[in-house]
C-alpha cells in the first residue's frame, strides 16, 4: 500500500482530491461569512483550480523551485540518474525521454477515452430515432469527444517532440527540464478536470462552446473550460521549452538548415502554440466570468457581442489545426527519405513551408465564420487568405512526391503509416477548398462534410504519423522491435475502415446531414450510411486495440533491436545504442559532417564520432 502511495501520480491525484474539496470548502466558508448561501458552480471552479495546483504539489513539482526560492542548492538535471524500471514513468522525472513517454501514455489514454466517447454516440447514430442517449448526454459526448481528442493530440505531439527532438539535435535534455516536467504534470489534473464535466451535469455546446448557449445550461461547462484552460498552460510552457531547446541546444556544427526536418516542424508548431493558445484561454475565461460574476461579454441582451467570442476562439482554434498537423507532417518528411533511400527533396523549401503554414495559419480564422454573420467586408479577404494556405501545403506534397519519385522504396510498418498519412492528408487537403470559398461554404458549413474533412486532416496529419513515429522509434525506447505482422494488420484494418467512415461522413454531409444532431429524419435516407460510419469507427477502434496489444507484448517479447534498425543517418540511430541511454549523448563527442538526408551519396555521413570517441567501446 505504502508502495503504491509513493508513486507520484497516485500521490498527485490524492492531493488533487483533497485540494478540490479544500478549494470548494474555502469558497463555501467565505460565502457563509458574507451571509450568502452555498452555491455549487463557483465552488467547483475554485475547487478544480486549487485541486490542479495541489496535484503538482503532491507529485513533487514544486520541490526544487521551492528549494531554489529559499536559496538551497538543487542538482543539475544532467546529474540526476533517477529511478529505474517502470516506476519512473509514474513519478516526477526530469529526463526528457521519460517525460516524452509519459506524454505518450497520457496521449494514448486520452485517445482511448475520446475514441470511446465517439463509439457511444456512434451507436446512437447508427440508426435514426433516439435509442440509448438523451439530448444532454449526446451533446456532452460530442463535445468531450472533440476536446479530449484535442488534448490527446496536444499530448501526442508533445510526446514526439519531447522524446525525439533532443535526440535528433544531439542534446542531453531539454533546455528547462523542470519546466518540462511541470508542463507534463499539469496536463494530468487538467485532463481529470475536463473529464469531470460529465459528473457535473455535462454540457450542451460542443467543443466550440459558443455563447450565449454556453452561458446558460448545465454547469459541467465550467469544468470543460477550466480543464482546457489548464491544458493550455501545458501547451504554452511546452512550446516555450521546445523553442529554447531547438534554438540553443543543437550539437556542434548543426546549423538551422542542417537540423533534421522534424525539428523545423516542431519549431514552427511551437511558435504557434506559444503565441495563440492564450486566445482560447482568454475566450473561455471570459465565459467563465460571465457565468460566475455576471459580467456580460457575449450576451447581446446585456450589451455583449456573441461574434466577438468566435473571433477570439478561432484565432487560436484555427492555428491549432496546424499545431496538430505540422509535427505529423514533419514525421512524414523525416521518415520518407529513410524508407525510399533518397534525399528529402528541397529540404529548405520543406522547412520554410512549415514556417509558411504557421504564418498563414494566423490569417485565416475567419473562414470558420463565413455564415456566422461577421461583417460583410471580412468574408472575401478571409477567402483569399484561406486558400493561400494551399501554397505552402502544396510545396510539402510536391516535395514528398519528388522524394518518392524513383526512390528504392521499402515497406516496413512505419513506411505504411507514412504513406497512409500522405494519402489521407491529401484527401483532407483537397476537401478543404470547397469549404474555403464562401459561397460553397454556405452549403457545407456545420455539416458532416466538415466532420469528414477535418477527420481526414486529423488522421492524415496526426494519427497516421504518430503511429508511424511509434513504430519507428519504439526500438529506441525499449530496445525491442514491434511485431511487423501485428503492425500490418493494424494498418490494413485501420486504413480502409477510416475511408468508409470519412467518405460516409462527407457523403451524407453534402446531402444535408447537420453536425452534432442526436437524431435525423429517416426520410433523408441516411440510415444505411450512418450504420457504415459506425461500423468503420468500431473497426478503427479494434485495430487500435491490436496496436496496444503489440505495444505491450513487444516490450517483453519483441525481436531485439540491434544497431541501426532502419539504416538511418540521423544521430539517434547512427550513434546511440538502443534503448537510448540516460542523458543521451553525455560523454560522447560527435560532429555534424554532412547533410541530414544525403541517402544515395556514396561515403557521405551526417554525423561522425570524434576520433577520441571512435576507439571507445560502446555496445552499439
Amino acid at each position: 500500500m505504502k508502495n503504491i502511495f509513493s508513486l507520484g501520480i497516485v500521490k498527485g491525484i490524492f492531493f488533487q482530491l483533497i485540494g478540490s474539496f479544500l478549494g470548494a470548502g474555502i469558497l463555501g466558508v467565505i460565502r457563509a461569512l458574507m451571509g450568502l448561501s452555498w452555491k455549487t458552480e463557483p465552488a467547483i471552479v475554485l475547487g478544480g483550480l486549487v485541486g490542479a495546483i495541489a496535484f503538482i504539489g503532491g507529485v513533487g513539482g514544486f520541490k526544487d523551485w521551492w528549494k531554489m526560492a529559499i536559496g538551497h542548492e538543487v542538482a543539475e538535471a544532467n546529474q540526476i540518474v533517477g529511478e529505474k524500471g517502470m516506476r519512473r514513468y509514474f513519478g516526477f522525472s526530469l529526463d526528457h525521454k521519460v517525460i516524452g513517454i509519459q506524454y505518450g501514455i497520457l496521449s494514448m489514454v486520452l485517445l482511448v477515452l475520446g475514441g470511446s466517447l465517439a463509439l457511444i454516440f456512434r451507436v446512437e447514430l447508427a440508426q435514426s430515432g433516439l435509442q440509448i442517449l438523451n439530448f444532454v448526454q449526446f451533446n456532452t459526448l460530442v463535445g468531450l469527444h472533440g476536446m479530449v481528442l484535442i488534448a490527446s493530440i496536444l499530448m501526442g505531439i508533445a510526446a514526439m517532440s519531447n522524446y525525439v527532438v533532443p535526440l535528433l539535435i544531439g542534446a542531453e535534455d531539454m533546455a528547462f527540464p523542470r519546466l518540462n516536467a511541470f508542463s507534463f504534470w499539469i496536463a494530468v489534473p487538467a485532463s481529470l478536470i475536463l473529464m469531470s464535466s460529465m459528473v457535473f451535469g455535462g454540457f450542451e455546446t460542443g467543443w466550440t462552446a459558443y455563447p450565449p448557449l454556453s452561458v446558460r445550461g448545465p454547469m459541467g461547462i465550467q469544468m470543460f473550460f477550466l480543464g482546457v484552460y489548464i491544458v493550455g498552460w501545458s501547451s504554452i510552457l511546452g512550446a516555450l521549452n521546445l523553442i529554447a531547446t531547438v534554438l540553443t541546444m543543437r550539437t556542434k556544427g548543426m546549423s538551422l538548415f542542417k537540423m533534421p526536418i522534424f525539428a523545423w516542424s516542431v519549431l514552427a508548431t511551437s511558435i504557434i502554440s506559444l503565441t495563440a493558445t492564450q486566445l482560447i484561454g482568454l475566450s473561455f475565461q471570459l465565459v467563465m466570468f460571465e457565468r460566475l460574476l455576471n459580467m456580460s461579454f457575449f450576451t447581446p441582451s446585456d450589451g455583449g457581442n456573441p461574434i466577438l467570442f468566435q473571433h477570439l476562439f478561432w484565432f487560436y482554434s484555427h492555428p491549432a489545426v496546424y499545431i496538430f498537423v505540422l509535427p505529423g507532417l514533419g514525421i512524414i518528411s523525416e521518415l520518407l527519405p529513410v524508407f525510399v533511400r533518397k534525399p528529402l527533396f528541397g529540404y529548405k523549401w520543406v522547412a520554410m513551408s512549415s514556417m509558411g503554414i504557421a504564418l498563414t495559419g494566423f490569417l485565416v480564422w475567419g473562414h470558420h465564420m463565413f455564415t456566422a454573420g461577421i461583417e460583410e467586408y471580412l468574408r472575401v479577404p478571409f477567402m483569399y487568405s484561406t486558400l493561400l494556405v494551399a501554397v505552402p501545403t502544396g510545396v510539402k506534397f510536391f516535395s514528398w512526391v519528388a522524394t518518392i519519385w524513383q526512390g528504392k522504396a521499402r515497406f516496413p510498418v512505419p513506411m505504411l503509416f507514412v504513406l497512409g498519412g500522405i494519402v489521407v492528408f491529401l484527401l483532407g487537403g483537397l476537401t478543404g477548398p470547397p469549404s474555403g470559398t464562401v459561397s460553397t461554404d454556405l452549403h457545407l458549413h456545420d455539416t458532416y462534410y466538415i466532420v469528414g474533412h477535418f477527420h481526414n486532416t486529423m488522421f492524415g496529419g496526426f494519427i497516421f504519423p504518430i503511429f508511424a513515429a511509434i513504430y519507428y522509434w519504439y526500438p529506441k525506447i525499449t530496445g525491442r522491435r514491434l511485431s511487423e505482422t501485428l503492425g500490418k494488420i493494424h494498418f490494413y484494418l485501420m486504413t480502409p475502415s477510416f475511408f468508409i467512415m470519412t467518405f460516409g461522413q462527407m457523403r451524407i454531409g453534402l446531402l444535408g446531414m447537420r453536425r452534432r444532431i442526436a437524431d435525423y429524419d429517416p426520410a433523408m435516407g441516411f440510415d444505411f450510411t450512418q450504420l457504415l460510419i459506425t461500423i468503420g469507427g468500431f473497426l478503427i477502434a479494434f485495430s487500435i486495440l491490436i496496436f496496444f496489444y503489440n505495444l505491450i507484448v513487444s516490450a517483453k517479447k519483441g525481436e531485439l533491436a540491434t544497431g541501426n534498425v532502419w539504416n538511418s543517418r540521423s544521430p539517434e540511430w547512427a550513434i546511440l545504442p538502443s534503448p537510448a541511454p540516460i542523458h543521451n549523448y553525455a560523454g560522447i563527442h560527435f560532429n555534424v559532417v554532412g547533410e541530414p538526408y544525403d541517402y544515395g551519396l556514396k561515403g557521405s555521413k551526417y554525423v561522425e564520432l570524434e576520433k577520441r570517441d571512435q576507439y571507445k567501446e560502446r555496445d552499439l
Binding site: N139, K408, D446, T447, L511
Partner: protein, 346 residues
C-alpha cells in the same frame, strides 16, 4: 548512356501523364454521377453548384496527380530484391521546380478566390420586389412573420420565382437557418443589433425543410420547420386564408397562437414526451413539482406557468428552458385562448 536515361525518363513521364489524365477523367465522372448534392431549388443553388463543379474538377486532377506519381513510383522503382541495400538516386532538390510549384498554385488559388468572390456576389444579387419575411429562431422552433401581410406562421410559405429577403433574429441562443436544397445558410443571432439578412430565390415548387445548423442545445436535432414553395396564385390563396378565413373562437385562436409561436417544439399535444410536459390531458391532472409539492393543473396554474415558467416546475423537467417574456409578448386574452386550447386536449 545519357541519351538512354533521358529517353527512359521520358517514357516514365509519358506513362504517368497518360495515367493522370485517365484517372482525372474517371474520378471526375464518378463524382459527377453519384449525385453529391441535393436538388437545386433556388437560383443561388445553381450558381453555387457551378463553383462546386470547378472544385470537383480541381480535386479530381490534384488527387490523380499526386496518387499516380506516388503509386507509379512505389510500384515501378521499389526496392529490387536482388539489390536489397541499394539506395535511390542522389537528388537533393531543384529550386526551379520548387519555384514552379509555388508560383503556379499561388496563381491558381488567387484565381479560384476571384471566382469565389464572383460567385458570392452573384448569390447576393438584390431584387427590389423581394418578399420580406422576419424569421425568429428559438429553442426549439422557427417562427415566420410576413410584415407586408401581418401573418405569423410556423410554416415558411414561399412563392416560386420571387426573391425572398429574410431578416433573421433569435429569441435566445445562436441558431442557423439552412435549407439544403437552397444551399445558403445564415446564423441567427440574438440581440436587436444582430439582425441578419439572407436573400434567395426559390425556383422549384415543392416541400422542403428548414434545419437549424448551429448546435443550440437540447432538441437541436428537431429544430426543423416545413418550407413550402408554391405558385404565386397558391401563395395568395394561403395569405387570404391566413388573414381571415380561419375560425375566430377562443379555442382555435389559442391553437393557432400556440402553433405559430413554437410551443409544440417542447410540449407535444399527442402525449409523447418532449423537453416540456405534454399538453395532452394535462388539464385537471395531478403533477409533482420540483419543490416536492403536488398540485392539480388548473387554469390558474397554467396561466402562471406561461408567464412565469420557472416558478413551479414539474418534476423531471429542466428550468430556464422556456422564455420568460411571454407576459410582454401576449395579451391576457391570448393567453386565455391558449389555456382554452390546452383544456380541450383530453
Amino acid at each position: 548512356m545519357l541519351n538512354w536515361r533521358i529517353e527512359n525518363n521520358m517514357k516514365h513521364f509519358t506513362i504517368v501523364s497518360v495515367l493522370i489524365i485517365l484517372l482525372t477523367i474517371i474520378v471526375y465522372i464518378f463524382l459527377q454521377s453519384v449525385g453529391l448534392l441535393p436538388i437545386q431549388a433556388s437560383s443561388q443553388a445553381i450558381i453555387i453548384d457551378q463553383l462546386f463543379d470547378i472544385h470537383i474538377g480541381i480535386i479530381a486532377f490534384l488527387f490523380s496527380l499526386i496518387i499516380v506519381f506516388i503509386g507509379y513510383s512505389l510500384i515501378v522503382f521499389r526496392r529490387n530484391k536482388q539489390f536489397p541495400e541499394e539506395d535511390g538516386k542522389h537528388v537533393t532538390g531543384s529550386s526551379k521546380l520548387e519555384i514552379v510549384w509555388t508560383l503556379v498554385p499561388l496563381g491558381v488559388v488567387i484565381f479560384i478566390s476571384y471566382l469565389g468572390a464572383l460567385s458570392l456576389a452573384e448569390t447576393r444579387k438584390v431584387e427590389p420586389q423581394a418578399l420580406s419575411i422576419n424569421v425568429t429562431g428559438g429553442q426549439w422552433y422557427w417562427s415566420f412573420t410576413y410584415p407586408d401581410y401581418g401573418i405569423t406562421s410556423d410554416v415558411l410559405y414561399l412563392p416560386v420565382d420571387r426573391q425572398v429577403k429574410l431578416s433573421l433574429t433569435s429569441a435566445d441562443v445562436i441558431h442557423s437557418f439552412w435549407v439544403p436544397e437552397f444551399r445558403v445558410k445564415q446564423d441567427v443571432l440574438p440581440g436587436e443589433n444582430f439582425v441578419k439578412e439572407l436573400r434567395f430565390t426559390p425556383i422549384e415548387k415543392g416541400d422542403y425543410m428548414v434545419l437549424c445548423a448551429e448546435l443550440c442545445g437540447g432538441a437541436h436535432a428537431y429544430m426543423n420547420s416545413p418550407v413550402k414553395v408554391v405558385t404565386e396564385v397558391d401563395f395568395q390563396d394561403w395569405v387570404d386564408e391566413e388573414l381571415g378565413n380561419f375560425p375566430q373562437d377562443p379555442l382555435s385562436l389559442g391553437e393557432r397562437l400556440s402553433k405559430n409561436n413554437g410551443c409544440f417544439g417542447c410540449h407535444s399535444i399527442d402525449g409523447s414526451d418532449g423537453v416540456g410536459p405534454t399538453w395532452k390531458s394535462i388539464y385537471g391532472s395531478e403533477k409533482s413539482l420540483v419543490s416536492g409539492e403536488k398540485i392539480i393543473v388548473d387554469e390558474e396554474y397554467l396561466y402562471d406557468s406561461i408567464i412565469n415558467p420557472n416558478r413551479q416546475i414539474v418534476l423531471g423537467y429542466p428550468a430556464n428552458v422556456m422564455s420568460q417574456n411571454y407576459i410582454d409578448l401576449f395579451t391576457e386574452e391570448e393567453i386565455n385562448n391558449m389555456i382554452e386550447f390546452i383544456k380541450s386536449l383530453e
